[in-house]
Symmetry: C2
Subunit: 329 residues, 2 copies
């Protein structure tokens, strides 16, 4: 089957145009009518760097490709709008494989209200998905950047962290799964392979007045440092308050690793870290409850100065060390 | 040097925000304020599939990546706005290499009024560039799709065709260059390695009332078939009227190839094919003259029916055969 036939078949599966789409996939470009301001982000995942086909089903890989891109929109407090997918396909990807990838992409798109408005298909030596996502808001000021945290703000975190790192350990050494229940092991592996973008949480925090926000792809300390640098502030994180993923402590112990290190440096949790005016915590908690997507935990504060300090419960500071991500070539 | 340091260095080279950009590269997403309707397209080029590093300088590869993406906006009659670049970098690409790629991207961006508003950097087994481009118009109706050609329209073509195919032959067999002047050979190779998006031409044709338009990436007959299919019409092309690239006939003869086949099936010329109301040719020619980018040639007409027919000067039809593009793996 030629590229055009395959493209036509895949295109048939895309839903009819979304609310802002005047002309969908299949022309030289998709035409949209944005109603205010847009936030646009691109994110690529590459086989052997970000995923392995022997670890995750193709549908899961498709879901992750869209999810990690949408996570950046969540961190802006944006409403998800359109996505454009570049698929670099190795020669061993057959027609069923294309459809399985699209299954995953469309599933995540439906769940988040995202319209797949276009794409490109090319040969590539390894499976590569580059996803562009466009989010919307009535005006630029409704988006939350990384750069406006001020001293005195509270630092809050959605959900739990360290789960993706524990999942990575479980995938690399299945014998570690004996340390936790089957259910917990499955949930930790899913944190690594099948992350969820916190879109509803991001909008809830934006509406509650979050001044700065970032999603955790590189790890709490690394991403916090990006936020601190962009805002020109220092961040103090109370290690004792961190919401550790269920099972992290047990898996880390079985692997001989420090669970706190995995939590602060493990990355790929795709939770949101936000700086919030101290008096907005009540409203933020309320709106997070309405969003019904993840918990909200105060984990520290914004201070004058620079950099990120992780304070240990017994006094002293944690020195976050680099965590070896999977298979960097 | 780590990914973040390199990203920061590359980001420093991006110009300050463009006219529609409220928040540029470096945050979770770029924020723009589109003024009406947007046209968005994604296009990827992959080493070994679309280019070879031993044939083209890195700056040229960067220019081509942006140019081929922008060509889709040209085919919509859009004004170029923003671009987002995913760079998949193999381990042998050093810091100078990154800067050279960015040189090319920025050069093409400046020449077309495009703002590089964001991007992503990842490791990849071969050099991969996936470019998303966003173009603008006051309203969706100002864009030209592929689907509105009607019987009786004129078919017009910008510039010359077959040049990229001749360039491909010259690159594959340098001895063929003896058939033409050095200058002509260089120009043909540049048609293959360093195409120009016809953005001013696309806008000129849109303003002159073009009803349907497409850019020639796959080849005249193939792309004409896409336009015919989308519009539900047939297209008649007069082979004798085709504007063949200077030197094509000589290079084809030296290679034992049919120049007309290379012109209609060679692809990668990135010229524009448009369907124009017959009484709009005068205005289109005038506006193309003002755009001062490429010639405009009537090459046939839109008819009832379906498919694409290439009529030979002596009577009879040309059967367009597939042209072997470079290095499909």
């Amino acid at each position: 089957m030629g590229e055009f036939e395959l493209l036509a078949k895949l295109r048939e599966r895309l839903p009819a145009a979304g609310p802002r789409i005047a002309l969908g996939s299949g022309d030289d470009a998709a035409v949209t009518v944005p109603g205010g301001a847009t936030a646009t982000s691109v994110d690529a995942i590459v086989e052997g760097v970000h995923f392995r086909r022997d670890e995750a089903a193709l549908a899961t890989i498709g879901r992750k490709a869209l999810a990690t891109a949408l996570s950046d929109l969540a961190a802006m407090g944006a409403e998800a709008g359109e996505a454009y997918v570049v698929l670099g396909a190795p020669s061993d990807l057959d027609e069923d494989g294309f459809h399985a990838l699209l299954d995953g992409i469309l599933e995540r798109a439906r769940a988040t209200g995202t319209a797949i408005a276009g794409g490109d298909l090319t040969r590539a030596p390894v499976l590569t998905l580059a996803v562009t996502v466009v989010g919307h808001a009535p005006a630029p000021s409704a988006f939350v950047s990384r750069g406006d945290a001020v001293a005195g703000d509270l630092l809050v975190l959605t959900g739990e962290i360290g789960g993706a790192a524990a999942g990575r350990l479980l995938l690399d050494d299945p014998s570690l799964a004996a340390a936790v229940s089957e259910d917990t092991a499955a949930r930790l592996r899913a944190r690594q392979l099948d992350p969820s973008p916190r879109l509803r949480s991001g909008r809830a925090l934006a509406r509650a007045g979050a001044r700065a926000m970032i999603d955790l792809s590189d790890g709490l300390v690394g991403d916090a440092a990006h936020l601190a640098g962009a805002s020109g502030v220092g961040l103090e994180i109370d290690a004792g308050s961190l919401p550790l993923a269920k099972g992290l402590v047990e898996v880390a112990a079985a692997a001989g690793r420090d669970p706190l290190q995995l939590a602060v440096a493990g990355g790929e949790d795709y939770e949101l870290l936000a700086a919030l005016p101290a008096d907005a915590l009540g409203e933020a908690s309320l709106r997070m409850g309405e969003a019904a997507e993840a918990t909200l935990t105060p984990i520290g504060r914004v201070a004058a100065g620079a950099g990120v300090e992780v304070r240990l419960p017994g006094g002293g500071r944690l020195e976050a060390v680099g965590y070896d991500h999977f298979a960097e070539p």
